[in-house]
Symmetry: C2
Subunit: 344 residues, 2 copies
């Protein structure tokens, strides 16, 4: 953190040299990958499955701050954020392509570090990096990832499809990535005021990790297949729970009731929210980048999820027009706002 180890200029490698250099360590692992990097295109064989494709960009000073984002973590997160989109269709990611645009302040070592984070994520999730390009831009860093995933036809899940009475479920816990960001921003301000100060992130591994090194819920997709559950709607929590609820609501033409006391909030998230004077419920509702999965299931599937430690039933779908509402711990009813973080 706050380090600067830049060394080799990339100019002498050229684009071909850089791509060859970066991709030389790639080992393919997906059964659907026929040919990876090195030609005009990659070759994939869907073997009768449906293909899911998704693309997303991370931009310096919009989606991340180089002051406290290690490049390896950034690469990891760029990959995982796209895996998460594939999971949100109930599919398993198996390939990505990566385009990196960077200014001349980035050296070979820094791009290698970014790339190594992408490859660590690929290895962990058994995803093949099958294509990509690099180019220079006047300022900053843009990482664009396109992910490809697979699912049997009929098992893919869209945002629209939730029916009245369906249970609203979410994996893991919420608000951690947001509180991790608050902490990193605070320590950055402290550091900028006094460069002698070391950032105090001790004992906050969980929320800092949630922000810098999130995970994609491929395990949920596998668990759903195992238990023969096909959710009626699905979305990943990248912009904040509240915002995602509005997406499901809009696409499915239902409204949701959400119970405050059911929102899964980790103790570290809770404590840090209190320290910042932020309502932990607000952090859970509006904090983005948790990359958990929000989904709906018919009530008949309740028995299949009720014993999962990692799935919380937080509400239910009801008739359109009843509004998306939060039922507070004290029983008060509040209209939800879709104030999830709007990417610029």
């Amino acid at each position: 953190m706050f380090e600067n180890k830049e060394k080799t200029s990339i100019d002498k490698l050229g684009e071909f040299g850089l791509i060859d250099h970066l991709t030389s360590v790639i080992e393919l692992s997906s059964q659907h990958t026929v040919l990876g990097t090195g030609d005009d295109g990659a070759l994939l064989d869907a073997k009768g499955k449906q293909i899911v494709i998704s693309t997303d960009s991370l931009v310096e000073n919009v989606h991340f701050d180089m002051m406290y984002t290690p490049l390896k973590h950034l690469g990891y997160k760029a990959a995982v954020a796209n895996f998460s989109d594939i999971c949100a269709m109930n599919a398993v990611p198996e390939q990505i392509t990566v385009s990196i645009s960077f200014s001349s302040k980035y050296t070979l070592e820094s791009i290698e570090e970014l790339y190594s984070g992408i490859l660590i994520a690929c290895k962990k999730y058994k995803v093949d990096l099958v294509g990509g390009d690099t180019c220079t831009i006047p300022n900053g860093l843009v990482i664009n990832v396109t992910a490809i995933g697979y699912q049997d036809a009929g098992k893919e899940v869209k945002r629209g499809g939730a029916k009245e009475g369906d249970l609203l479920c979410v994996t893991g816990d919420l608000g951690g990535a947001f509180m991790g960001l608050q902490l990193l921003e605070r320590e950055k301000r402290v550091f900028l005021e006094n460069k002698e100060m070391k950032p105090d992130l001790q004992d906050h591994d969980y929320i800092v990790g949630r922000q810098l090194r999130p995970e994609a819920r491929v395990d949920l997709v596998n668990m759903l297949a195992e238990h023969e559950i096909i959710p009626t709607s699905m979305i990943d929590v990248s912009d904040g729970l509240s915002s995602e609820i509005f997406h499901l609501s809009k696409h499915s033409e239902v409204d949701f009731a959400v119970y405050e006391d059911k929102l899964p909030i980790d103790q570290d998230t809770y404590n840090m929210a209190m320290e910042f004077g932020i309502d932990p419920t607000t952090a859970a509702l509006n904090g983005g980048e948790d990359y958990e999965i929000l989904f709906t299931i018919p009530q008949s599937d309740y028995d299949k999820v009720k014993n999962s430690q990692d799935i919380s039933v937080i509400g239910y779908a009801r008739e359109k027009g009843m509004k998306n509402q939060l039922i507070s711990k004290s029983g008060n009813v509040h209209d939800l706002q879709a104030q999830g973080w709007q990417h610029e």
Copy 2:
């Protein structure tokens, strides 16, 4: 050209609004597209075919100059350049995802114009735009396109595979995009010196069009299927003929002999090269962005291509170690250099 009609700031739409706005006019046409934009991912059904995927970026002031690149043409070219990569695997493009990163100097109207060019290309080539995102960057414009294409297993063609004795073929003509760029650069300099001067592009529609509005050779892929030709190697001419020959040579482990008098050069390209004091052969060998297809076929397929007005047999593959060489009109032999334009 040289116009500035910027109007609406994009801020008020937000990312979701902008994407909704831009994608609202999309009509799907590929039989392989199950679901387009609007969810976490798009759904594609390969229906037993192999999938080809390719990604590429166009960057302001690296790949294009806003002074003489109309945004609509730029969008068209960004799409077509990626279609061309799919064609270069002997596949037909059917979907793209598009990520656009732009600075605040770009207005809604300008992004719409860019997008409209992409959609015109999609419509012409029957390609579906199935996903994408937009984000702001501090400076400039980056367009990243990922294209997906299809081909029967066994008919995809890589860069490696050319055998000794195979014929080296190229579609269309070469050097036009490069001479178009020289002309545009000259007229830009004239304009910058005297803003009263109007750019003189009259009678040069062909080479200016080759630079600003190239086409992808999907027709070649269809023609090859019709005539039951499977090339032994293939690549598109994006960086210059000479550079592409070296790619085929490296991947196929053969060397090539190329005949100068067989190089297809349009009359307008030839004349403009002479006007600039550039050897037309040099323009054909080293000029990039023609997006023609360079490929090799066994001699036994010669009869199937010999009558095509649009395919030139320009040389042949020979034993590795004999070097890639140009046999000049006067019979002299020159070693080729892989000095194709290296993207930065």
